[in-house]
Symmetry: C2
Amino acid sequence: MRLVAELETLVLRQEDVRRIFEIVGRDHVMTCLIERLSDGLGELGRGECPNSPPRAGFTRGAGARGVIDVMPHYLPGSGLTVKTISYNPNGRREANLPTVLGSIARIDEASGAPIAICDAVLLTAVRTGAASAIASRLFALPKSRTVGVVGAGAQAVTQLHGLSLLFDIDTVLVHDVSPVNAKSLKQRASFIDCEFKTVSPHELLASSDIIFTATSVVPGAGPVIPDVEHLPHLHINSIGADEVGKTELPVSMLRRAYVCVDHPEQARTEGESQQLEPEEIGLPLSYFCAHPEDASKHMNSLTVFDSTGFAWEDHIAMDVFLELARDIGLGEKVSIVHCPEDVHNPYDLSSW
Amino acid sequence: MRLVAELETLVLRQEDVRRIFEIVGRDHVMTCLIERLSDGLGELGRGECPNSPPRAGFTRGAGARGVIDVMPHYLPGSGLTVKTISYNPNGRREANLPTVLGSIARIDEASGAPIAICDAVLLTAVRTGAASAIASRLFALPKSRTVGVVGAGAQAVTQLHGLSLLFDIDTVLVHDVSPVNAKSLKQRASFIDCEFKTVSPHELLASSDIIFTATSVVPGAGPVIPDVEHLPHLHINSIGADEVGKTELPVSMLRRAYVCVDHPEQARTEGESQQLEPEEIGLPLSYFCAHPEDASKHMNSLTVFDSTGFAWEDHIAMDVFLELARDIGLGEKVSIVHCPEDVHNPYDLSSW
């Protein structure tokens, strides 16, 4: 007897994901993500689960910018998660599309059937914000009040959101090559009660306790901030890594900093760590989630979280989205996989 | 202005795929696949399109057999196809599941959105049958009448189907470790008008013009046929490659044969070519689809098609399924991807 339920696919439509946020609230989703991701990275750091392979990226042809990545993670006992995600910095201009856009599927371990599929635009933005919040909790001073934003696009909203749940932010200093983006961040992040100021990179560096860089800088055209005077305890989350050759930070700052990566292999291929020798790169975030006391030693000096985003983070984020959807009763189940009653006869169409 | 249609996902349910086969007939689908795959492999052989990366396989943990593979193919101008496919030789016994089970998605090149998702059980079986038919048209004698089947499971049905459309088969000789499977193939392949006989491996080798091996032999437990007397012009399609260490043919036969592979890297990792040195392996099928005259030289001697199944084949097969579904008007469009009106604000949920 076959358990048909195992083969059905739960499709979470965009309105289902909206309902999750409407019902439980964005703070609840982000808080869940921060705690679950911190726990999951800790498991990885203690060697209790396998790491993700580095993602396979396909570079767009014919002069179009950006990549489409395939990011699989297999957790024995839980299943396979596969995210496909496009980074297309021209997408907004050409078709009013988010720069980072994709979807994510969960594959049942025993059957191989896709048991769920949902959006990865909001999921990626939230999990990336959660990862930076976790790194900041480990490496930034707890009394950090001023956050510097370099690149005020979509990712900036969830980066600020994650930080706002762990730090008592009173000032956000914003720099973007587009003055319109820099200015509109205040409205888009209006759920954070603090002062927003558009400033020069020099002013931003001089006063920020925590900075994040989330830009679409062209490969080879970085860095996006100068190496100028900054607070001694500055912590930077550099999250713009999505293309080989794309970097956001001055190598001189990286060399002075303790650099913590999320996924060592990916970081050396597409992160800030492309600019460093192996011995200049610190331990991964998963290590510090397992041993937080080792991170606090670095709190009073310059630290960088080199965030490339990896598939284990997506697996955990999808768990959270699916659990919230299940608790509320959202999504539509459809039968996609062809499973004939006589499994030895693919042309047995009669019994469907 | 955004073209919303580009972001919607066409979900082909299992009943939609059934309708395709009911309306156009299995022969039409298989014939389309054979011709489109032959053309597509020819393009690859002429260097007109990129090859697929080798698939990433995740081996099931905790003593469970089999793998779950992720198979991406990116064709500039067409999009990214990602198939996730499980090989689980115990699935049938444990849960009456097909041994090979999965699904396939097409990602829009510009947006990164999943524009279609459908079954990969029937698709994989049909495209694998089509690939073997193409190899047999190139390497087997056109007057081949007797086909030997080693492993009479699900794949045997579509292997026979593909051959039956290109050769005037009068006799099918069947061997399977399960006598029940061997016997039931006649019913499952009853659309082919010929005689079916259950025979020993020796009898099968002695009389077959074309043989295919499609078994679930345990890695290291092969070969599944002995190296005994066979017709001088014998052509073998070995299609059981899905695990490292799993092989079906005696290495002595492989060394005597001209071995044509589908995907050289995969063949050396998980195909019959694991048993060979690089210099013992012939040119890939794509070369011969571009230069069929070079294949016919081998028609009167022993040839082997080492079929591992690769993602370019799946990309083409999905094209065919999607075109047939579109012509008939099948499938349901759903909005999965989160695309806020203000693309710089992932929390802009109001405008959905």
